[in-house]
Symmetry: D2
Subunit: 306 residues, 4 copies
């Protein structure tokens, strides 16, 4: 395994076509596109990593997996009143679908859906309380108290909030949000500004690979059924309008972020995190997806057959 | 296993809410909604079945799995020039997506995509030649020479062809089809009129559960990679606009048909076929999906974890 | 003429089907639906009115005619950089079209377009300065210094701003707005809260009927070409998704508001204002449109022939 | 008048940017783009023309005005059951709107709407009978028995029918068409293949300028109300997705065709026909629209004011 991760890292180091770093806020635009990290945490408790696997990056939309988990914990199936669970067929920030479906977002991983999940988990509390709770949860599943929100990133997102503000006000107009739009957005932007390394991220995802049980603590985070369901949502909707492509090429449930990270789950086997800041045209890490494709080809860990 | 299938069959026999039988052609409208069958073929060569598992029904869109397999065999990745591989976010017969994407259908399982696949596999031949080839292929993977097209169903579909004719002419206008529209539709309607029982269907799907190898012949039908990719397409797009729901509840790659059948693949384990003619609002078998959900809950065969 | 207006008023007084009063803010929901007023100001300087023609009501979207006039005065054809001039085929508050056309609203009379016009006329000033300028302009063309904004209505709109806030943030994300979204919305909601009577409104529109010249002052407000162009926009887009219907039945350029008012222009002849608070399914005054239809049938003032 | 038409003709002869000739069928692609004709028939019975005003060209969609007139004559308001009367906000051959509105086309001038009108006027008859009736009608209002269908153009359209066939089958699937799709299309393509000169076309439109009365025969073709309504539809929908632009610049009801012709009606004054084969990006005659704009600026015949 260790050798495989190193081979992948070496091979991708030679790659000149690395995609385009997200540039809508300066904090992301300034990231060096030549960085690459990969990390694997297995259900047996082994850890492997290569490249810049200890470097923290902005996990962005990968955080939606954690808020979804919290949302299901708090509301159970009640969460689905204001969020759907189908692929959208539209880009991550599309508003067209909302208008056609009474302001109900298609799934919890497009921006509108993630904003609706944040609103659902706030439950009348202030942003700082919700954020403290989220941080506490992610520190718990990562077993690492050093995790933090990058406030500069969050502030910069807030300064460029218009597209997400449009989504939030639209849902609010349909009664899909209970809280003040600016408070919901403030919480959402901090959530997306979580800084994590591949090592931390792989650890954080491990409960989804092991039927809901955290490792090495062996404490249950979610039920096996809920773990399966979160995985199914990652498979169907984790890469926006390129989710089919990721399933076709990689064959694992995964969630990408515009910071260049991808978390992928191999049920019963392990949790993988990759990071390469350059994105493809759909906003997913170009080399990150390729690394996972190479990994699965070599290991046969696809959920769709060896 | 046998006992499990029988329990599921007995439990669903009590169900009074059985969905609505497809009624757009008389041959489907007249089917008795109280029938139910389930069949499992394992990669180890075992067979289990319960209920009306030997009764042939119109497999309809499930046939798209077989033509997709043929299309990949003939054109390889060239098939993807005129067909995409993303979930559509639209109903099975939507034309909106075609207009927004230059007549290229989103995936091979919506009607437009399946029609494009048929056109691709015709390769200049007449409908009867293509249909003979298809029948030969399905008889081979089923190991059953008795399979047949129900010509009455095909004729009735042709008499109600307008929605599909609209899709086909639209793609033709964008140069996505090479052959005469009526010939393509004639082939397509026959393909959908394949009559198969659950037992036959489960057998036919077995190569997708066993990395591309037919059982019990042990002859390779497709490469392991291709088997995985077909499974991924079934997962992402096999239930039209309710594919996310099927993945969420069942967690297996599957393909439904308006005849009330569903083929589901448990990679490395087996191939399942269920049949119950009543459909839900998305055009998928209501009790068929429930039977699969019960089966997976009891066996832990979900690809997303036990 | 006087007799005609009175006949129309009497006939419509008997009407029991009066539409549905706008109810999204309490100030509009509480208006008595049995009120009706009609007023005509001719280019020769005559005035006729019947019913509650002196009662002020919330002109709402009719105000968009005045801000469009100001916008063209300030920016000339530069206004069309961020606003189109085609019918939209969508409801007044649709956001779908914005996403499909890079955040550029179809025309200045749908909400998004009117918000873009407000942003254009602010030119770096504060809301109160822009509103003072607007009030001054409308008082001038009405020759009535008593006109006022209903601040309660404006405050209530602001409290229910979400749908319009969504439109504004969406346009802002595409760089279509220069000013702070809340300031633009504050200005927009005050503009819509202008209170005018039919008598005042008919007077205000008179310059559009007389080639751009105000009456009785004979001072030019806009060039003849600009008057024609504003009239053409009222014809094509003045009734949202029911503009075709209004042209078909009435045959005059017109602009409706959810307060139940309609301003209609008979070029070379006069300016008509009607008011009846009940709306049809498209948000246009039900009896107001019928009154205009009756008027045109009797006078032959349609622009499409006698 | 004569001098004005000649000046316009001379000025446009110098124009080097002449648009792009329609090229989807060879018969249109081969037309010399340097031709230009203009003709005016006044309600007083005068005739003026300049340039190639006697040269027949393919009137294409302008014919929709004549079939609409026939359709209203046969079905009255019953015609509106299967055709709407609102601008579409979409290109002439869009199918998106049909899917969103149960197969009912937005107006009689987009292709789908015109096909629905043809179906409505067939009333159980064969194409040749309907076409004979249409030819008879157009010969009557033109007072010219030499008018003909260009069968080569019609045959070529039929050979490139796919986009329109898609629209027709779609409507048929929703029960909007009564007749066989190929028969409806055959009739439609012949209708569009009517060959007329500007002189003939201006004469044919005269009844719409004179309250429904043909000139010089003084026989009534339609009621004054119906003439107004047809004019309103030409204004709102006559130039597809650029109808707003035509109203803004020209200010007359008009109908364009991809052959490069435009018929424009000045109610109470006269009927204008222009022809220049080069099209703008929306499929409307580039210099034709400019000629009408020049004409209206000089004469003050806009319906929106002098």
């Amino acid at each position: 395994m260790q050798q495989l991760l190193e081979e992948i890292t070496q091979q991708l180091a030679l790659e000149t076509e690395r995609g385009k770093v997200a540039d809508y806020i300066p904090q992301l635009a300034e990231v060096d596109p030549h960085q690459f990290g990969i990390s694997l945490a297995t259900v047996e408790g082994e850890r492997f990593s290569a490249g810049a696997a200890a470097t923290p990056f902005s996990i962005q939309s990968i955080s939606k997996v954690f808020t979804l988990t919290m949302g299901l914990g708090k509301l159970g199936d009640g969460l689905w009143t204001n969020v759907g669970r189908e692929p959208s067929g539209d880009p991550f920030n599309s508003i067209v679908q909302l208008e056609h479906e009474n302001g109900k977002p298609r799934n919890p991983f497009i921006n509108a859906g993630a904003i609706a999940v944040v609103d659902a988990i706030m439950m009348g509390h202030e942003p700082r309380e919700t954020l403290a709770e989220l941080l506490s949860f992610v520190r718990y599943i990562t077993d690492d108290q050093s995790l933090y929100f990058d406030h500069q990133v969050a502030a910069s997102e807030m300064a460029h909030k218009d597209r997400n503000a449009s989504l939030a006000h639209f849902m609010k107009a349909f009664g899909r949000l209970r809280h003040d739009v600016d408070k919901v957005l403030g919480t959402y932007f901090h959530q997306c500004a979580l800084a994590m390394s591949c090592d931390q991220l792989a650890h954080a995802g491990l409960f989804l690979a092991s039927d809901g049980v955290n490792r090495p603590s062996n404490l249950r985070v979610v039920s096996p059924q809920r773990a399966r369901r979160i995985n199914s949502l990652m498979m169907m909707c984790g890469h926006y309008d390129a989710s089919g492509e990721f399933a076709f090429r990689v064959g694992l449930p995964g969630k990408s972020g515009v910071g260049g990270g991808i978390l992928a789950i191999a049920p019963g086997r392990g949790s993988l995190a990759v990071w390469s800041p350059g994105l493809d045209e759909y906003g997913n890490s170009l080399l990150g997806a390729r690394a996972l494709e190479m990994f699965v080809q070599r290991t046969g860990w696809s959920v769709f057959g060896h």
